[in-house]
Symmetry: C2
Subunit: 260 residues, 2 copies
């Protein structure tokens, strides 16, 4: 009952969410799983992604998970409803629904011109547009950036020239047309600099904060042990740690999971 909050993503991107969860709920133990061996998720179909998510949640249940954070925009857009129905007694928080709520809140401001960027699968799902535009009536630009998550997993982050070029290639025609970018994939905070170079000065909506608030708002049983964080990856632990060091600014030693 008082077990850990369990967080997953296709790779390291979800660590941007883990960071906010730690800040918001410092007494909770956390388990993180990055599915690097099967990343990126962004070009995969819903059936595959639901199957991956189910395996990961079953792994988390062995760790006595009291809540699941789906810290992956692609899983959130394609697998959330199905997996909530399959695990009815387990609270599951995604990133896209809290992001849409936060965007609706900010859309009250004058001159709000939003751009939603995400993986191909997330854009194809149409979920964010339905949640935001249908509700607000505000025009929304939405664009797939299929190379962004692979850029981050390859370590080409921040102002890496190829990241800047890719961002300009995907987004430059929207410069001046949008002033707020919703980061629909948890890898994208690592590319803020490249995105700013493509679009000029803009405001970011990072779902990580809204997700952490949504998680904290759930009525969870209190932790029964001092807080502890464990990291797992299905891929190469060294690659995972070197990116984690950049995101979390600390050294972690993830355990390698040969299979789920």
């Amino acid at each position: 009952m008082g077990g850990p909050i369990c967080i997953f993503d296709s790779g390291v991107g979800g660590l941007t969410v883990l960071q906010k969860i730690r800040r918001e709920m410092p007494d909770e133990s956390l388990v993180y799983f990055g599915d690097t061996a099967r990343a990126p998720y962004g070009g995969k179909d819903a059936k595959t992604l639901i199957s991956h998510g189910r395996e990961i949640i079953n792994f988390f249940l062995k760790h006595d998970a009291k809540m699941i954070i789906m810290a992956c925009g692609t899983s959130s857009s394609t697998s959330y409803d199905t997996l909530c129905a399959e695990f009815p007694s387990l609270p599951i928080v995604d990133t896209i629904r809290p992001a849409a709520e936060e965007t609706l809140r900010q859309a009250q401001a004058d001159n709000f011109r939003p751009l939603f960027i995400a993986t191909q699968a997330t854009i194809n799902s149409g979920l964010f547009s339905r949640l935001f535009s249908d509700e607000s009536g505000t025009e929304l630009h939405a664009r797939a950036c299929p190379l962004f998550a692979p850029l981050v997993e390859a370590g080409h982050i921040g102002g890496h020239p190829t990241a800047v070029f890719a961002a300009k290639n995907y987004l430059a025609d929207l410069r001046g047309k949008v002033n707020t970018v919703i980061l629909g994939c948890t890898h994208y905070p690592l590319l803020k600099l490249a995105i700013t170079q493509a679009l000029g000065e803009i405001t970011f909506i990072d779902p990580a904060e809204a997700t952490a608030r949504a998680a904290a708002a759930k009525n969870l049983p209190p932790p029964t042990a001092p807080p502890k964080i464990s990291y797992y990856t299905s891929g190469a632990p060294e690659k995972f740690s070197s990116l984690a060091r950049i995101i979390l600014n600390e050294n972690i030693a993830p355990k390698k999971l040969a299979s789920l």
Copy 2:
């Protein structure tokens, strides 16, 4: 005994090998499997890749495979010896060993200045350098291009501006220093134009041809049925077909495999 030749890759790249196999051995039936749901392979560790390869070969054995073509440079560099030992009665042909033999043959020419490009896992294995440089004594440049296979899987091929930029970022400092590029990943023939823009006029060694010749040289039982080609993918069939159309110049309908 007279079953199909079975070919696999992390995704669509191995279709560049399938094409040459068809030309070299037109009477053979072929089964192709692209592991798109778990692509890219290039950042994964040997243990994961061996496990994926084992699953795929077991799937092929259900199809009565008479030979396996490991049409993936990363699997070839990390999994070949182990999987040959596990399946001792099954002929297995990889892409890196035939590529090294072909490169050794061409290295007889004057002024041969080779560059081997591949995924991070293939470069880390050191296999090609051992097979080529240790034998020839010719200096070899070798470089990892971790974004190249994801670029191809995202459909950013040929002279796509981001592909050209990525190629320049990885390779431009070698312009004038090399005159022959060995494509150590079966996705890379789709990026020849980008690579040429980075390096100027160069000669390519595409392992697909050497691999097809190595396959044809095996003493196989003759086919027992008219030739037929079947395609399978673990990912989204539409995405697979749209890239296959560009590579093979024909429409194919791959079957989706939910699990191996």
